[in-house]
């Protein structure tokens, strides 16, 4: 008997992933053939709330409005265009096979499942690969200036985890250009009156009536007013929770509040411990650092990673002789060298820094050295390839990478975990959907480069508009609870009390202080490497710190005008509870897979050791009334099309 089977029997929620029948290639077509439709004239009788205006939210809101639904769109940003998707640099995958190098929907599907270390749901991933091709068409039509060849056709580059060139890009600003495309489509609908936009408005709670999502409670960030909105369906496209680490490459305001509040109302939170660490970021420079900046992974094509042999080294890098340097990636992974996979090279860096061999003023980085390539190919060539990145590095770090090696260190970057959703992207609460980084659906235990943008747009453009219709069709003619319903009033009242409470604690520490301390615990115990002892320690430290938060928090200002300190307090509070769940999830998953690396479970040469016998499942947690007492539910994963295999970098 496997643990998966045991656990399944203990499920507290009936998890139905609603995977359509048929072979993997036919599932999506079968679904579309069978789904119920809302006739065009009736669509305007339905109201859909979309929270978030990132790639997933903007594309969903625009498309639903184009179809005729009444859409209300919410964002805490001042403009929909500011969503964090704007910051993605590298590119977006699609199985177009424009390069004729043997790509196909099946290959993209397989790469994504394998990249996720076989911890994602096959059917969802296959659909993602199928619609990936439509995304490129849609975005080109929208005017996204993707890079092109001289002949005028679309250009591609290759990205980690794939042997084909399938990544479409717009300079180093792919996320920006895609988001602007979706934003403009949304803007058109706002202009036409198809979408009502509530900007600078933060989602605080989802309201359920008789087990169905009936609407949401929001807070106007400008006036502090709390009010409710009722709808037939609610979509949460609110991004990832990478900021639980405090320092991450995410935008400052990215947070888990929306997903977490839904979780507290009964939505399951899946695989929270699957978080991705990116190996090439600029290391922290001091205690006041507010966020970390990603440096494109492409730098590893020509840079050599090393640290000094001597932990007490004080000389500047150029004075350290070759024999006194440890080019550890080349030493440990001779065949991949400096190009070893993201998680592998991240962990290697961490181990050396932990041993005291780190470099820089805080001894918290490793060198990425270009002197060899500069000597070999000349400065000109290097400038041509990496000019922009070098400039960006110099602006931030104040050192010229042509002369001094770059300092890099891994940082939190993306979260695979999120709200549990079925094939229709519906959470276990009927009428409540989650899309984009906010759901858990497609990336398993590790996400391949350039596939988050793909997933956000797939969800918003090509999945939700169908699946929501299927849910709404039977509701035609039925009345839904309005905002006068007592459940709304109750939720509003709770929200008001929550915020008043932060203001009334009047302790001595700012929300940022708590966030920083929280981040240190999570990064230390539930970061690149995890072990039982550390996780247990975290599970005792976190509640203590959270308790301190509740009694010693200091929020100045008031609740009736714009107050960023107050906004932050609410977000940090939710990060605390999420942090506890992350550590719990990491503790219960006694295997290593993808980015989840349990030191107890590794091969002799330090690679992740998966346990398919006991952990080939999704861990979907149910709120148990307290952050420390969640109930585990599992969804077993079956692999029919992609066969379970070991991920290897050797």
């Amino acid at each position: 008997m496997s643990l998966t089977v045991d656990l399944l029997e203990q499920n507290t929620v009936n998890l139905n992933s609603k995977i359509p029948l048929g072979s993997i290639e036919d599932k999506w077509d079968n679904y579309k053939a069978d789904m119920k439709l809302v006739n065009p004239g009736n669509k305007r009788k339905f109201k859909v709330i979309v929270v978030g205006t990132g790639l997933a939210g903007a594309s969903a809101a625009a498309t639903l409005a184009e179809l005729g639904y009444q859409v209300d769109s919410f964002t805490f940003h001042d403009s929909p265009r500011r969503a964090h998707s704007i910051a993605a640099q590298g590119g977006i995958n699609a199985a177009k096979n424009y390069q004729g190098d043997g790509d196909s929907v099946n290959r993209l599907f397989y790469d994504t499942v394998k990249g996720g270390d076989f911890r994602s749901r096959e059917s969802n991933v296959h659909r993602l690969a199928q619609v990936s091709v439509n995304i490129i068409d849609q975005m080109v039509a929208q005017g996204v200036p993707f890079a092109r060849e001289y002949g005028g056709l679309l250009d591609n580059r290759s990205f980690g985890g794939a042997q084909v060139s399938r990544t479409f890009y717009a300079r180093g600003q792919t996320g920006q250009q895609l988001l602007l495309g979706a934003y403009q489509q949304l803007a058109r609908q706002i202009g036409l009156g198809g979408v009502r936009l509530f900007n600078r408005t933060e989602f605080l709670d989802v309201v359920t009536v008789d087990g169905r999502a009936a609407g949401i409670v929001v807070r106007d960030l400008v006036t502090g007013e709390i009010e409710s909105h009722a709808a037939h369906a609610v979509v949460l496209a609110t991004g990832g929770y990478g900021n639980v680490f405090f320092l991450s490459t995410n935008a400052m305001s990215s947070n888990v509040t929306a997903a977490w509040r839904a979780h507290r109302k009964g939505a399951l939170f899946a695989n929270p411990c699957f978080t991705q660490i990116h190996p090439t970021c600029i290391p922290q420079s001091d205690e006041f650092q507010s966020k970390l900046t990603l440096m494109s992974e492409s730098l590893r094509n020509d840079g050599r990673v090393w640290v000094p042999n001597n932990p007490n080294e004080t000389r500047p890098p150029h004075e350290i002789a070759e024999s006194e340097r440890d080019y550890y990636l080349e030493r440990l992974y001779p065949s991949y060298g400096n190009l070893a996979a993201r998680d592998v090279s991240s962990r290697a860096a961490k181990r050396l820094v932990d041993k005291g061999q780190g470099i820089g003023p805080l001894k918290n980085g490793v060198y990425l050295d270009f002197s060899e390539v500069i000597t070999r190919l000349g400065r000109e060539v290097v400038q041509e390839r990496y000019g922009n990145l070098f400039e960006m590095y110099e602006r931030i770090a104040g050192e010229n990478p042509y002369e001094v090696p770059m300092r890099i260190y891994p940082a939190s970057h993306y979260t695979m975990g999120g709200l549990w959703v079925d094939y229709e992207l519906q959470t276990n609460i009927p009428g409540l959907y989650a899309a984009g980084e906010a759901n858990f659906s497609d990336h398993g235990a590790n996400r391949l480069g350039a596939s988050a943008l793909m997933q956000g747009l797939a969800d918003g453009y090509f999945v939700l508009p169908y699946t929501i219709g299927n849910e709404l069709a039977p509701m035609l003619g039925k009345t839904i609870p309005g905002v006068e319903h007592p459940e709304f009033k109750k939720a509003e009242q709770a929200a008001r009390e929550k915020y008043d409470n932060y203001l009334n604690i009047k302790g001595s520490r700012s929300p940022d202080w708590f966030h920083r301390e929280l981040g240190k615990i999570i990064w230390g115990r539930c970061g690149m490497e995890r072990d039982e002892q550390g996780l247990k320690q975290a599970l005792s430290d976190l509640p203590a710190l959270h308790e301190e938060f509740k009694t010693d928090l200091n929020v100045t200002g008031d609740g009736t005008s714009l107050n960023q300190t107050l906004e932050k307090a609410g977000r940090v509070d939710d990060f605390f509870e999420l942090g506890m769940l992350m550590c719990r999830d990491a503790l219960e998953r006694r295997e290593s897979c993808g980015t989840h690396f349990r030191t107890e479970h590794q091969t002799d040469d330090g690679e992740a050791k998966r346990d398919d016998q006991n952990y080939c499942h999704v861990s979907a947690w149910q709120w148990g009334g307290d952050a420390m007492t969640p109930n585990l539910n599992i969804e077993p994963l079956e692999f029919e099309a992609a066969h379970l295999a070991t991920r290897s970098y050797k």
Binding site: I190, L197, G557, T560
Partner: protein
């Protein structure tokens, strides 16, 4: 502590559905700032053409009284006999006046628009990176140019402030040469003349560049030349025009 700083906000929607009022084509064009800039630029070009020809014509001064007076006569007789005496000149003058009025109206309405666009000024000193003194003082340099034009007309065209106007030269032609010499021998007038022309030069230093942008004439092939053109144009006007009072005061002209 503090009160709410803003009342209930409503959602944003239907922002682009307001129906558009249809106007006569030219009025329609003129109704937006971009359209007004077209008018500024086209009238500016006409005025530049005038200023340039005017300056070149006046260079006749250096050839002696007779040459200049004959030139003035030529202008009055322009297109004679098709047009009666003086008529063509008045039509030109009328055209120029219309250009000036349009230029002024556009300048005025744009200035009003711009003032409204920033009702509360920056409370600390600005540190401009690219905007030049010339571009930031267009309305002042323009206004002084206008004052000068007015004076100039009162002085040399209508003779209100010039006793010599009305005199004839030896050949019986209007003594334009004498008028100029009389006018510019008055030191304060000469100084005003110099200042106004330098300011006109400054106006043109920016204006003659700006027209290209306003009219959408932008092409990598000639973009670099636009700046040189404007500088050269402004310099030619200033050097030419300033030379007259200097020459009169130095006694090169008028003896």
């Amino acid at each position: 502590m503090t009160q709410a700083t803003s009342s209930h906000r409503s959602p944003v929607t239907g922002t682009a559905v307001a129906s558009k009022r249809r106007r006569l084509f030219l009025l329609d064009l003129y109704s937006t700032a971009v359209g007004k800039k077209y008018v500024m630029a086209i009238t500016g070009i006409a005025l530049m053409g005038f200023v340039l020809t005017h300056m070149i014509g006046n260079l006749k001064m250096y050839l002696g009284a007779s040459e200049l007076n004959h030139y003035a006569r030529f202008l009055e007789e322009l297109f004679y006999p098709i047009a009666p005496h003086g008529v063509a000149l008045w039509i030109l003058r009328g055209g120029l006046l219309a250009m000036l009025v349009l230029h002024l109206h556009a300048a005025y309405s744009l200035t009003v628009l711009n003032r409204r666009a920033r009702p509360v000024k920056y409370q600390s000193a600005r540190d401009f990176q690219i905007a030049t003194f010339a571009s930031r003082t267009m309305r002042w340099s323009g206004m002084i140019a206008l004052a000068f034009i007015t004076w100039h007309l009162l002085d040399l065209t209508f003779g209100v402030v010039n006793e010599n106007v009305g005199a004839k030269d030896a050949e019986g032609l209007k003594d334009v040469y004498g008028n100029v010499v009389f006018s510019l021998q008055r030191v304060p007038v000469a100084i005003f003349y110099v200042i106004a022309n330098v300011l006109l030069g400054i106006h043109l230093f920016h204006g003659a560049w700006s027209i290209f942008q306003s009219l959408g004439w932008n092409n990598p092939r000639f973009n670099k030349l636009r700046r040189s053109f404007a500088t050269a144009f402004a310099a030619i006007i200033v050097i030419g025009n300033v030379s007259f009072p200097v020459a009169v005061l130095a006694g090169v002209v008028g003896n």
